[in-house]
């Protein structure tokens, strides 16, 4: 029988006893009250309390004890004492047994509803999926169930339909509402070669796209998996309460025996009064509040953050976020847009571009695409070089038209000739926060190409917000100090670590960790080692490939504001866990002495039934407090938080 049903039956059956309680102050006695109470309470015990006795006994046989043990003992003792009392013409306490059951069930019904509410979020994410897709089969679009869509399928999506799986657009343009997955509130314009995310809403145009990821591999499936893991994870702060809750119930039983002894043996109270104190102790104690404090808050917090496009890996990460005092940013692609452009060319433009583009075509360096883009614009043909050689952290060199040529940073040109004029221009460009690529031929620098990767629009605001929170901000970059400083000043970063080779990032993080707790923000692909070295790794906007392994926190949307949001929701969730744990401990620490009669001197006592009510309210309040995390204010809109 469900808790709800048991609760209603118990409630209806306890109405006569409730009536008697109201009549009591008027010295009115219901006729044959004891018999009415005996019959109704017996039914209540059979229907509603017996399952507690069964569970309590089953747990006892396994040397376990839990809340059911306490409820079982409380109701069992009050009921059978009352039966005994009735037979021997003493005062009965049937209402205690009945009301404890009512209140405990009331608590359980509420708690169950609220817990379902808290854990529902993941199911809601899964429900976002489309159920079918229009797939190209034998030159015609046909509707097939989602499970039959395979990678490589060409899928057509009309306005108002959901994108069924992840993929890349092959024809058409449209705008897509990705809010449900990335937290981005504005629809995003998409065209050919842009990637689309499964379960997002196509709004204006019809597009066809090629499926790249289906089933378990889609971004949404990965998000669901990550949130699920986070929700079942543990936070280190829980360890203490886990220890307490393991020994909690037996300790409460011992305290109840002691309370009985002190009242009966030492203070000379009647056995009945001493028994009532003991029962009150057993009933007021609430291991559930302790047990629910962390998991419910984690559940609500991680689900809420997932909705904002912030994936938090575990309770451990959440706790670590609260200890960080330094936040390190990778520069390229994180603080800046990551798609640099050629801004200046010093020297023979066509020649420089031809050499640079020919060499850089082989390279995967982010600066290479800027040069290639420019060469394409100028319709400059590239030639395949021979003896191509990449020099790590410096650049590339090769043979082209029989000449030795090189393209790279100043380190590569350290032994080459360079005119004073070029040197001066290089410094000027670098001061303007531009990366200068030197192009050389036969040991002479023949020209410069300046490339700039501009800062993201909201970088300054974001850094400002983080500094307001008392965090030290650091920028880590492979660029030279001049370039790095210029950008840093522009956006207000505290410290700069420049000239860092790709492999050295993690070492610099380690150095900072000697005196600080460090969070590192970078993209999930190139910065895996640095991300896992930092106390908290925040992987930013890796599109449909969320790098679950490398980052403790993954930002689905490629937006710097996500960092502020991630920190804010982590703080809120962790504070809520602390509050819940404090409240659960405080409640028991105060409640048990009150029930034991420690405060009788000041007129503060609790009958067993009110102890039951207090117990029910305490676990409801913990779950309720966790659910309130859904309503907690988080900096959501950058426009709102700018001063």
């Amino acid at each position: 029988m469900s808790y709800t049903k048991r609760f209603y039956i118990t409630l209806i059956l306890s109405i006569p006893m409730l009536g008697q309680m109201v009549l009591m102050p008027f010295h009115l006695m219901m006729p044959a009250y004891n018999w009415v109470a005996l019959i109704t309470t017996t039914i209540i015990m059979l229907v509603a309390a017996l399952p507690f006795w069964q569970s309590g006994w089953a747990a006892f046989k396994h040397h376990n004890a839990n809340m059911d043990t306490l409820v079982a003992i409380g109701t069992f003792v009050s009921y059978f004492y009352s039966v005994f009392a009735m037979m021997t013409n003493r005062e009965v306490y049937f209402e205690s047994a009945a009301f404890i059951t009512v209140f405990v069930l009331l608590g359980q019904v509420f708690e169950e509803r609220m817990r379902n509410n808290a854990s529902n979020a993941v199911e809601k994410l899964v429900q976002l999926q489309a159920s079918d897709a229009e797939v190209l089969r034998d030159n015609a679009f046909v509707r097939v169930p989602l499970e039959e869509v395979v990678s490589g399928d060409v899928i057509r999506v009309k306005p108002g339909e959901k994108i069924p799986v992840d993929g890349v657009i092959v024809s058409g343009t449209t705008t897509i509402d990705e809010a449900m997955v990335t937290g981005e509130s504005l629809p995003v314009a998409k065209g050919v070669d842009d990637s689309v995310i499964g379960s997002t809403m196509n709004t204006t145009g019809t597009v066809t796209f090629k499926a790249t990821k289906v089933g378990e591999e889609t971004l949404l499936a990965q998000i669901v998996e990550m949130v699920k893991r986070a929700q079942t994870s543990h936070a280190p702060i829980q360890k203490l309460t886990d220890k307490i809750s393991n020994i909690f119930v037996p300790i409460v039983l011992i305290v109840a025996v002691l309370a009985f002894d002190i009242w009966y043996v030492l203070l000379g109270a009647t056995a009945v009064h001493a028994l009532l104190f003991a029962v009150a102790v057993i009933v007021i104690a609430c291991p559930c509040a302790l047990g629910l404090a962390t998991p419910t808050a984690l559940m609500v917090g991680t689900a809420r953050s997932a909705k904002m496009g912030v994936l938090i890996k575990s309770g451990e990460v959440l706790e670590a976020v609260n200890k960080i005092d330094t936040i390190v940013f990778d520069k390229t692609g994180t603080l800046t847009k990551g798609t640099p452009e050629v801004t200046d060319i010093v020297g023979d433009e066509a020649k420089l571009l031809r050499i640079a583009a020919s060499l850089e075509e082989q390279s995967e360096h982010p600066l290479a695409s800027a040069i290639l883009d420019r060469a394409k614009q100028q319709q400059i043909k590239v030639t395949i070089p021979t003896n191509f050689q990449a020099v790590e952290g410096k650049g590339v060199q090769a043979e082209l038209f029989g000449q030795h040529v090189f393209v790279g940073n100043e380190k590569l040109a350290i032994n080459a000739q360079i005119s004073e004029r070029l040197k001066a221009q290089m410094t000027a460009l670098q001061k303007a926060a531009k990366t200068v690529v030197v192009v050389g031929e036969n040991d002479t620098v023949i020209g410069l190409i300046a490339i700039q990767d501009v800062a993201r629009e909201n970088a300054k605001v974001t850094i400002g917000q983080l500094k307001d929170q008392g965090l030290r901000t650091v920028m880590l970059t492979g660029d030279n100090a001049n370039v790095a400083r210029a950008i840093a000043t522009q956006i207000g970063i505290d410290d700069v670590i420049a000239d860092v080779l790709p492999g050295e990032k993690a070492d610099h993080i380690k150095q900072l960790q000697q005196s600080h707790r460090v969070a590192f923000v970078g993209d999930g692909i190139n910065d895996a080692l640095a991300l896992s070295t930092a106390d908290v790794g925040i992987a930013m906007g890796a599109g449909t490939d969320i790098a679950i392994e490398s980052g403790g926190i993954v930002l689905v949307k490629n937006d710097l504001q996500g960092v502020v949001r991630a920190l804010a929701i982590s703080h809120k969730t962790f504070n809520r866990i602390k509050l819940n744990l404090f409240w659960a401990l405080f409640y028991n620490v105060i409640g048990i002495p009150i029930a034991a009669g420690v405060f009788v001197g000041v007129g503060l006592t609790l009958s067993p039934e009110f102890s039951g009510l207090a117990m029910a309210l305490s676990s409801i309040s913990v779950v309720g407090s966790s659910l309130l995390l859904n309503k907690a204010k988080i900096v959501d809109d950058p426009a709102l938080s700018t001063k």
Binding site: S55, H62, H63, N66, S245, G291
Partner: protein, 123 residues
């Protein structure tokens, strides 16, 4: 006199509670049965998990069949924090949960509130 008897009884009860709940007990580990290449262990959920320690062979697919007899909602959820599993166990029904046995190790499982514990050992 009654006082004295009460006192002696109380001491006995307290002693029993401590011995019963806190005494150290050896747990019996249960090896999985293999049928059609899948390892399988039945776990009865009633006031705890019996068996509470399950031994699985590494690399072979495995199912844990949970059967909840206990009416209490304390045990209605089972969570494996290492695998991100958090499942509802319907009462009086068998509910299979498949376990990833690709890596060696000990993996704890517990009820939703972390009051009841069990362990899967992958060897």
């Amino acid at each position: 006199m009654t006082q004295l008897i009460t006192l002696v009884l109380s001491i006995l009860i307290v002693g029993f509670v401590i011995w019963w709940f806190f005494g150290h007990r050896e747990e019996e580990a249960v090896q999985a049965n293999v049928a059609d290449g899948t390892q399988q262990v039945d776990i009865v959920v009633d006031g705890g998990y019996s068996p509470s320690t399950v031994v699985l062979k590494q690399g072979q697919p495995a199912n844990l069949i949970f059967e909840r007899k206990d009416p209490s909602n304390c045990l209605e959820q089972v969570t494996f924090a290492d695998f991100g599993i958090n499942e509802f166990l319907p009462q009086k029904e068998k509910h299979a949960i498949s376990i990833d046995t690709s890596k060696f190790g000990e993996y704890d499982f517990a009820c939703g509130m972390n009051m009841f514990h069990g362990k899967v050992v992958v060897r």
